[in-house]
Symmetry: D3
Subunit: 136 residues, 6 copies
């Protein structure tokens, strides 16, 4: 049950087809997951979001792909996005995340959440030593 | 301005002194940041939290220290913990995070937040392919 | 599966019946959605919440009804309230939200989330120009 | 106090200058607010984010500019982004939001938050009537 | 720095004066804190919110006042509302919360946050034993 | 559907068995809920989390058990953790929370959320009277 209906025969729209083809090429698989199928209800939005996600997640950059997927999972947990947690945990495993690394990820995420709430409760003042200009 | 007062002469309490000494040894510095100074208002809570944070963040584990700090930052941003963002961005830099890696971290965190909100808005159903048992 | 059971024959309680009747009259429909049926487990709470929601959402005010429903959806997405997202997306459509407007809503919500996380990560200082007193 | 330093003489970088010029032209003002000044620490990220924000917020689309700013504020409140709340409340006023409309916005945002928490607490099941396919 | 200006001579408006008088009487003090002073920018909103907060927090009900203040703090921490954390921690202390109880509150809040993130990460299925109807 | 598989025959691992036995003894029941069954995928994480939850929630401390469960529920609602809401609402009832107390809890949680969003929207400055040092 969703708030939009994924278009049937979505790829009869050339803008949707171009994005789906790029997803298949970029990922090397025929599988198009539901996020893109539903987002196709608005081809312009589909293009914008896919371009951004592809450029950030699939292109070479300072961080390797597995690390980026784990950071993605961390944000998705904190924002309670069930779908995103499932899809990016699957992506992280596909990119080599081991079970031990996943347990470590959960350990860090849950410890961070614990101290986030402690610090927010006590309203601890920020040490001047943490300023970006401190050592400058 | 905080909701608790950090105890003066905190290290006259042997439990506080033991934790502060362990912080100094573990980190190789005399600097004790405000989080621990304020948390010392309850020595038992200080012990529990420090033990947990040290075991998760400072000990060798499946993920390296720099990656763990970046995951910590990601969660702290999503949970809006100002102090934690400052302290762990400083820690990540101390553990080698470059400016390019930090930009990449922000890129992933903000892209994840964008798709988290899109997916949560559309209530996209989870693909069965993402089930941990799918390939099993 | 819920944490409370909606009372059977809820309208035998005159306070519940009065609220349900007012919902039907205000909305011009016999349909009472689950939120009110479950909230009826405590008639006092039902009265308080219905009165507030009716006064804010159903009465004439500075903003038109469709705009108010879209703002409601935006908050519900950010707070991850699945039920609220479904019910208020349905309400917004009933009040005239088009598919193009819905796509635009998702575009704004997800872009806001992206910059929220970027700004919270960098801890950008607020420009004095934004102060309510600035032009005063 | 921020986690990055805004580059001095940022506009000696031609990519930064091009974005700043486009901000000035699009908004019809010489004022560049801190968000863009700090984001300039990574010119690529600056380009991506400005392009997205400009296309979503400054271009003609299904929703008018004032409504989009109010939706932006709603998300920023729920995500606790202080800077974003300040900057977009200023933008909404500049685009014509009256004091009465602002009070109405706060009324809707806070009522939504109240019912979000009520519904999430009771875990109310979604009515099948809200399905996008229901009337289909 | 705020997004609204608190009205000067607010009590020349009889609706504001009536609310401020009721706050003074209910609390037995002349002190009116900033939340109400700023909210007075819209007398109707001030009336609605004060009536609700007074009825929930200041009237006798199933839970005692100190417990209600601690629950209020817990929500405010999770929602990152700095002002609310400060004002309700002060209220809880005024209603008898001891330092040991406050430490216990922080212990529960931060442990809950930790398991919230763990469970949300693993997407653990809900046991049927937790259904409100289970024992029914 | 979860992101990890609970180990079959989990108690053949002596560390898992020791934790499960301690859960049974502490709670006086043979029932082990899914959270612990899934967490057993990493015995070290299971030990850490159970020890912490047991010490905070099951041991005598400044706050009584029922109050602690209600605070836990409040945080879990604000963090949108469905499983946690279900499990701790069941625990609170088992520890004596009445239906009237539960309604009161929901009343406080939802009123707090409402004012959290109002205050965060207006960015009300904190009164100096709320400082922990004010009366000192």
């Amino acid at each position: 049950m969703a708030t939009v209906r994924p278009p049937r025969d979505a790829e009869t729209d050339p803008r949707v087809k171009a994005v789906f083809d790029d997803i298949r090429t970029t990922r090397g698989t025929d599988f198009i997951n539901n996020f893109w199928r539903y987002l196709a209800f608005d081809p312009g939005l589909l293009e914008q979001v896919w371009t951004d996600v592809r450029d950030v997640m699939a292109k070479d950059s300072a961080l390797d792909g597995k690390t980026k997927e784990m950071i993605y999972i961390a944000v998705s947990i904190a924002n309670s996005c069930d779908y995103c947690i499932h899809s990016h945990t699957a992506s992280a495993r596909a990119r080599g995340m081991t079970s031990a690394e996943y347990a470590d990820l959960l350990r860090v995420v849950s410890t961070a959440a614990r101290t986030n709430h402690l610090v927010n409760g006590m309203k601890v003042p920020v040490d001047p030593e943490f300023d970006a200009d401190h050592a400058g």
